[in-house]
């Protein structure tokens, strides 16, 4: 099934009424991403008005790029989604990390993960870890969330490029191990997860 304008309009309508913050749809090279306007930071619950639609390849200040990795705990599908906000430059920018839930282990992330010998999603690159696509937006995942293989769980910014980190299997996020806006190393554990 290929989506046409009508389908998209319909989807937007349903999306507006839903409790979802972001939605992605992908089929045969066609990709659609819909997201609600970022909630005002610190104002919970988010007031949701209107929706933002960004199509594949839309010019955005920062291009998402799939991390080129082998062997690390990630393997993404697809590339080139546009993010709506450029505010993710510089460590600890603002607000994006409304949801760190006290589990912020800065540099020692790798060690912490290894110690518990739990399943982890590791960073394939050196960079800055962000839980949300842009400051003020909902994090990609929260503790307790279930994610499917291929879902984006966070981004790591390196060389001015936002690299999407994806789950390489279906799992539940148990703990966020890296500090939002903090530096992560190659192999740093970002999330403790449980396969499911």
């Amino acid at each position: 099934m290929k989506m046409d304008q009508k389908d998209i309009d319909e989807l937007i309508g349903k999306f507006k009424d839903s409790g979802l913050g972001v939605m992605e749809y992908e089929e045969d090279g066609f990709r659609l991403r819909i997201e609600k306007e970022p909630a005002v930071v610190f104002a919970a619950p988010a007031v949701q008005t209107g929706a933002n639609v960004a199509m594949v390849g839309a010019a955005a200040p920062i291009q998402m790029q799939q991390a080129a990795v082998s062997g690390a705990g990630v393997n993404g599908v697809g590339a080139g989604v546009a993010v709506s906000d450029a505010g993710v430059n510089g460590a600890g920018a603002n607000g994006a990390g409304a949801n760190v839930a006290g589990a912020a282990v800065s540099n020692a992330g790798a060690e912490a993960g290894a110690e518990a010998s739990a399943e982890t999603i590791d960073s394939p690159i050196v960079g800055v870890f962000y839980q949300a696509p842009a400051p003020g937006e909902e994090p990609f995942v929260k503790e307790g969330d279930r994610v499917s293989k291929g879902d984006v769980v966070c981004v790591v910014e390196a060389m001015k490029v936002m690299n999407e980190i994806r789950a390489s299997y279906d799992c539940r996020i148990l703990k966020v191990l890296a500090a939002d806006g903090g530096m992560v190393e190659f192999g740093s554990a970002l999330f403790e997860v449980e396969k499911c």
Binding site: I125, A158, M159, E185, F186
Partner: protein, 458 residues
């Protein structure tokens, strides 16, 4: 002065840089791969950042991870050491683009001098003698033939982008040129993704003599004398000494002057080495290495100049504190590169654990190594694990001291080249100091025989 330096290397050279930084009160950030978590350079640095896996193609060659690590840890400069990214023009440029000082020459200079044909041109224009050959690339077999006829047989066909003996073939007579030309081109294409070739007259069994230079940002260039690196096995140096024992004063002066002129002509900055080959009283420029070299300690021992500290000072924008007249060499220094290799299996790398280690010390002995008892030698990197340097007032004292130092060295668990180097120190030709790059080919098998007779295989 620089405040915090990321050392983009591992092993002994990472420690060498780290120690210089400590003495200059500069903070250090090491990078390491997963397998190097317990390596000395990881543990000794003020901070260490994991940058990749242990495969030859990633980790220490991952420019983005290294630069990102430098930026995020607040470094203002990157020292590349040798090998890995040290002669990578793109890396030097990338450092600059990201506001980091690359401790070495600019990317432009690296690529200019890294192109062998271009480097020859620079040397020639600077007035240095170069090995007779094609001035620039030779595109066709016909051009190659007419060039070879002109300079005289035998000739060497070399890759413009080459190094380490790859993309290189000898043709002793016209009949051999066709095959040699095709093979060199193919290998050059495969190894360097650039099949450009040039031709040189083959100087058989020359001596390999190189001049260390230092150049600051203001254009001051000095040289620190020569090193003789003629003891090589398949183009890999095994032992070096400074000064060269047979060089005449007039040759030394002329080579030093040429080296300085080449560096000036290239717009060189930082430490570098101009390599020559000599044959009798003739000497020819072959290439310039745009980085710190493995054998730099022998020069440091006889000049008293800490080359790594000078590199850092130069990269900080400071002018050289010494003029050419200030440089005096004193005494004699020899370096042995100890490699973890099985000499009876064609010097095949011997990776694995070091069970027990005892390194030499005492008057006039210097060791550059990242080994410790129980450490693991990775199969992914260079097999050179330890440099032992002996200094003496005279060459003979340096030799005797080196014999003594090697005699007390114990590296248990791995096979090393040490016994062969020990035997070299008793070779008559070596003792006379008048040896050339044909040395190991001539005596290598004899050393192996002696070592075997002495129980080396047990």
């Amino acid at each position: 002065m620089l405040k915090r330096i990321l050392i983009a290397n591992r092993g002994e050279i990472a420690l060498r840089v780290l120690r210089a930084c400590r003495e200059l009160e500069i903070e250090t950030v090491s990078v390491y791969t997963k397998g190097d978590r317990e390596a000395l350079h990881t543990m000794m640095a003020d901070r260490a950042v994991c940058i990749g896996e242990d495969a030859p193609s990633c980790g220490y060659l991952d420019m983005d991870n290294i630069i990102e690590a430098a930026k995020l840890t607040g470094c203002d400069a990157v020292h590349p050491g040798f090998g890995f990214l040290s002669e990578n023009a793109r890396f030097a440029d990338k450092c600059a683009e990201n506001g980091l000082v690359f401790i070495g020459p600019s990317g432009d200079v690296i690529s200019k001098l890294g192109d062998k044909a271009e480097a020859r041109k620079i040397a020639k224009e600077a007035g240095a003698s170069i090995v007779p050959g094609s001035d620039g690339p030779v595109r066709t077999l016909e051009d190659a033939m007419s060039c070879a006829e002109e300079i005289g047989w035998p000739v060497l066909i070399k890759a413009a982008a080459g190094g380490g003996g790859r993309g290189m073939r000898i043709a002793r007579m016209p009949e051999e040129l066709g095959v040699a030309f095709a093979e060199a081109g193919e290998e050059a294409e495969k190894c360097f993704a650039d099949g450009t070739l040039y031709i040189e007259k083959l100087i058989e069994d020359p001596r390999h003599i190189e001049i260390q230079i230092l150049a600051d940002r203001e254009g001051n260039v000095i040289h620190l004398g020569e090193r003789n690196c003629s003891i090589q096995r398949r183009n890999q140096k095994m032992m070096e000494e400074a000064p060269d024992w047979t060089l005449t004063a007039s040759m030394r002066e002329a080579m030093g002057r040429d080296a300085v002129n080449i560096a000036k002509a290239a717009g060189y900055e930082n430490a570098g080495t101009v390599e020559f080959i000599t044959s009798g009283n003739n000497y020819y420029f072959i290439e310039m290495n745009t980085r710190l070299q493995v054998e730099h300690p022998v020069t440091e021992m006889v000049t008293g100049i800490d080359i790594v500290k000078e590199q850092i000072r130069i990269a900080s924008g400071l002018a050289l504190t010494k003029t050419q007249e200030d440089i005096q060499t004193k005494g004699h220094a020899i370096e042995c590169r100890i490699c973890a290799e099985d000499v009876f299996r064609g010097y095949a790398p011997d990776a694995g654990d070091i069970d027990f280690l005892h390194l030499p010390s005492g008057f006039g002995v210097r060791v550059e190594s990242a080994l410790y008892s129980g450490c693991r030698i990775s199969p992914f990197y260079d097999s050179m694990i330890c440099k032992i340097i002996a200094y003496g007032d005279t060459r003979l004292e340096a030799i005797r001291r080196m014999r003594r130092a090697l005699g007390e060295t114990i590296i248990r668990g791995r096979k090393t080249t040490l016994p062969i180097q020990h035997l070299i120190l008793y070779n008559r030709e070596f003792l006379r100091g008048n040896y050339d790059t044909g040395f190991m080919e001539k005596y290598g098998a004899g050393f192996l025989e002696l070592y075997e007779a002495a129980g080396g295989k047990e």
